[in-house]
Symmetry: C2
Subunit: 544 residues, 2 copies
């Protein structure tokens, strides 16, 4: 039995465009004589559609697009992910569904059972859970349909939730010949491996093969990595689709799998994920050009390399904005980077507006010491220059802050936090270094000096990040333990052999800077817990 | 039977402070010989604690505070709202509970049944639903306990959700003598009336009196109005607690109610809500001083009046930042307002930094027309000045944008959108006028000219808002119909007798400016659907 997994990159709310992608998959499936075509979860709206789902006229348009798909389904069987009205009045108004379409007819629906409502997922905001799965007769086989989370409860891989029902347990006695899963399973480092394990355990539990069709592409902060896969009844991998790109992938589902699993180093996937995230953010907005402040430091260098790969060198503009505190080394490093990348570099020194502000404000600051106010002024002048250039030229400013800085509040609101997208906002400083070194092994672009010099914001004479922060190796350890694993300060201090007051201070800074992050640009999510989405803490609170 | 409703103003996560408030209520109840004391929902953590709930060490601290409360409960019976661990493993890890405490002992828990997961509510993210309610014997009466949403399903007043279970229906056959409800029911214009209706219908359905204890105070964007109330078995109001302030309110629950309901004009409640929202935002952060850019326009004037009422005139600093396009009238209006309010007004003309930027940028703008870039520059210079003053003096900048502007994108990111709190960010322009006129009837403070002149951003010669926007009366109508009521463009055009292309254009602008609102300061919520919380739309989408 040949199944086509339409690993597609939908645009949220582009119902017609997404439907046309599905119809192209229909044509491809017919040409290849596939017995069944499956799409990702909510393929017609794209995932996650968020509150667009609450617009009744959007839901009417979904229904109309479904009718067109049914018309276009001659000579094939397809399972298409889409939201639908819940016929039962005493629950949420919608169901997260899979429409089973065959030869111009709608055979019926399977409705998702397990609705994730944690981290970046808000499915109970919109959807009611469906009835337990039953089997569908497709091409003479007994086919079980599931949607994403449905297959996770039966494993022990759900860290953040648990459900009273379990569709895989429900299916055991029904003995399906195969199971299909429509997914929109977002990328984070290591997620691909979890997804394989889930498929493996599901296949072993049911004693039948499984095929999972995943969404691909960037939607705001979320990146979907694709890597659709099929696993045989013994838990061996039959095959997998490409990562980080669209593919109409055909698999013979009763083929015997291989015990070996293709190895994708995490760092390569991280690289591909960020490039895809940037490319789709611009492409789906219909914009082409990016503008980046190049300080000579590693963060802006990495963002520039990624932007050039995503958008092309002619669409990336570097701007060097030296101040009285910028070292000549930094300016040279920015120039070398720009030359290596083949991008335009404009130099706009900030001394004149800085002096104008100081002249203007000093009478109002009389008798008060210099402090971070003057440092913030410099960062904000740079932000304003980037915004002015981007306004005039229809570009998006890429902000260059990393997760460690966002956590510590080591950034200026309306200054270096300006921008439309925080490309590396979910990378710790150590990940920034690791990825930068990796990219340079592929092709040396980031100046050696940028890679080696100690991090500095250069906002006062001889400033170093370590003047006010511990070593990033320590910051990053505490970050992961607290943000991702919810460990207590005491647990972290013990496990990492760090002084408790230091750990408490770092965690206090994380909470204290919630107000900055609330106004930060959306960042591309690459960890299990990113600041920009899926983490919801009050600004005003006294827990910490 | 005398019941004390501890209508308290908790601070999120301040477990010890909140516990001490509850213990003060215990003392008060004992002194007054109350038969029962009830708190608001989640009184120990404050509502909404958001992802603090996901920290296991916070939950351990909640358990410790509960033990102290139990110790402190000699000679009284109390029902205290708090989160607790869910003993059942196959569901969310927590329950939204009411601990029934009596004379040094924990009698047990009632766990909330209906968990709102819409708009600003995310309760299914944390909580599992509890078992149907049973009755508790308290002071010889059969008492039913419910928590907030539990009493709403039985009415037809839930616009956004519906539940398969209904605790009030479950209670009918059990015939309680009275029902208590622990609430954290946030304010919006008209909400108080809905809450009375819910209590009335619940009382009539069960044939017994009901007392609802509501939270009071501001927590980030949400304002809780208090107005705890009791309704007799015939649906008449026994009484209500104060609005917008803490009160230990004692009610004789079997007293006969009154058919008359005290009337609180919406505009007075709106006024009180915003003052409370500002006061608590500052107070709970431990900050005192605010800084506001006074343009001479109505938005900044209204924010200044509210800030003075919330913080005192000595804690509010007005800043006039005239440009080459500012009219002398506007500067005079700002000066008159400051004089009327008795606040300091600093004048910092922006011409010098504006010139410095133009000199710096013009070589990079060669051959390009003047456009909104230059307008944004002015707004951003003002934002930078306000931020510098606030950084140096430990003040919070209050942003002055209203909901109509936020909807239309008629504001500059990192410019007038700078600030820690958007005081009137959920008021339409028409509500801004209505509230300003109302405040002036109480005490004339806003200059007549500010109230009467046509709105203008004064960012280019003779600019008026109506140059690029339709009349605000039209904008506001479309806003409400689309944002709050989810009507389609066609429905709105027909109902409001407006040209369809105009309505489509306005709705398109709402979606187009999602990226600005994502980085806007939190705003005080006063409508059923505020931009800053409870509305979740993608930035990158092609639905509109």
């Amino acid at each position: 039995m040949h199944i086509l997994a339409a690993q597609m990159n939908p645009t949220i709310g582009d119902l017609e465009g997404n439907r046309l992608k599905i119809e192209r998959a229909f044509q491809y499936a017919r040409a290849a004589s596939a017995d069944l075509l499956i799409t990702p979860e909510l393929a017609l709206t794209g995932y996650p559609p968020e509150d667009l789902l609450l617009l009744p006229h959007m839901m009417r348009a979904v229904e109309q697009e479904l009718q067109k798909l049914i018309q276009a389904s001659q000579d094939l069987t397809a399972i298409v992910g889409l939201p639908r009205q819940n016929p039962h009045p005493l629950e949420k108004g919608l169901l997260n569904s899979a429409a089973v379409i065959q030869n111009g007819k709608l055979l019926g629906y399977y409705d998702k059972n397990l609705l994730p409502t944690y981290d970046v997922f808000d499915e109970r905001r919109y959807f009611a859970p469906g009835a337990p799965p039953t089997l569908w007769d497709i091409a003479g086989h007994r086919v079980a349909i599931t949607i994403c989370e449905d297959v996770w409860q039966h494993t022990d891989l759900l860290r953040h939730s648990s459900y009273p029902s379990d569709p895989i347990r429900d299916l055991m006695s029904q003995k399906p010949d195969l199971l299909v899963n429509l997914s929109a399973s977002p990328y984070n480092v290591g997620k691909k491996n979890s997804r394989f394990q889930v498929c493996q355990r599901t296949a072993l539990a049911l004693g039948c093969p499984i095929i999972l069709c995943n969404q691909v592409g960037g939607n705001d902060s979320l990146i979907f990595d694709g890597y659709s896969l099929a696993v045989d009844a013994s838990g061996h991998l039959i095959g997998e689709a490409a990562g980080f790109q669209e593919e109409f992938w055909i698999v013979d589902i009763f083929e015997k799998g291989d015990e070996k699993i293709p190895h994708h180093p995490d760092i390569e996937d991280l690289h591909a994920a960020l490039v895809l995230g940037v490319r789709d953010y611009f492409g789906k907005l219909g914009l082409k050009k990016a503008c980046i402040g190049l300080s000579g430091g590693i963060d802006s260098a990495l963002v520039a390399v990624l932007a050039v790969e995503a958008l092309g060198k002619d669409n990336v503009w570097g701007v060097s904005m030296p101040s009285r505190y910028s070292s000549t080394g930094s300016q040279e490093d920015a120039a070398i980077l720009a030359r290596n990348l083949g991008i335009t570099l404009e130099t706009i020194p900030i001394e004149k507006p800085f002096t104008a502000y100081l002249d203007l404000l000093n009478p109002h600051f009389e008798g008060m010491q210099g402090d971070t106010t003057e440092e913030n002024l410099q960062a904000r002048i740079r932000g304003m220059i980037l915004m002015a250039l981007s306004n005039k030229r229809n570009m998006i400013v890429l902000s260059t802050g990393n997760k460690s800085e966002l956590a510590m509040g080591y950034s200026t609101l309306y200054g270096d936090l300006c921008g439309g997208l925080a490309v590396i906002g979910d990378l710790t400083k150590q990940q920034v270094y690791a990825l930068s070194h990796h990219l340079n092994t592929l092709k040396p672009r980031i100046p050696q000096n940028t890679l080696e010099k100690p991090p500095s914001a250069e906002l006062r004479p001889n400033q170093k990040d370590t003047d006010s922060l511990p070593d990033y190796a320590i910051v990053d350890k505490v970050l992961k333990a607290y943000i991702e694993d919810h460990r207590s300060p005491t647990q972290i201090a013990q496990a990492e052999r760090l002084p408790l007051p230091l750990v408490q201070d770092l965690i206090h800074r994380i909470h204290l800077n919630e107000y900055k992050r609330r106004q930060a640009p959306p960042g591309l999510r690459i960890s299990e817990k990113a600041f920009s989405v899926g983490r919801r803490f009050p600004i005003v609170q006294k827990w910490d």
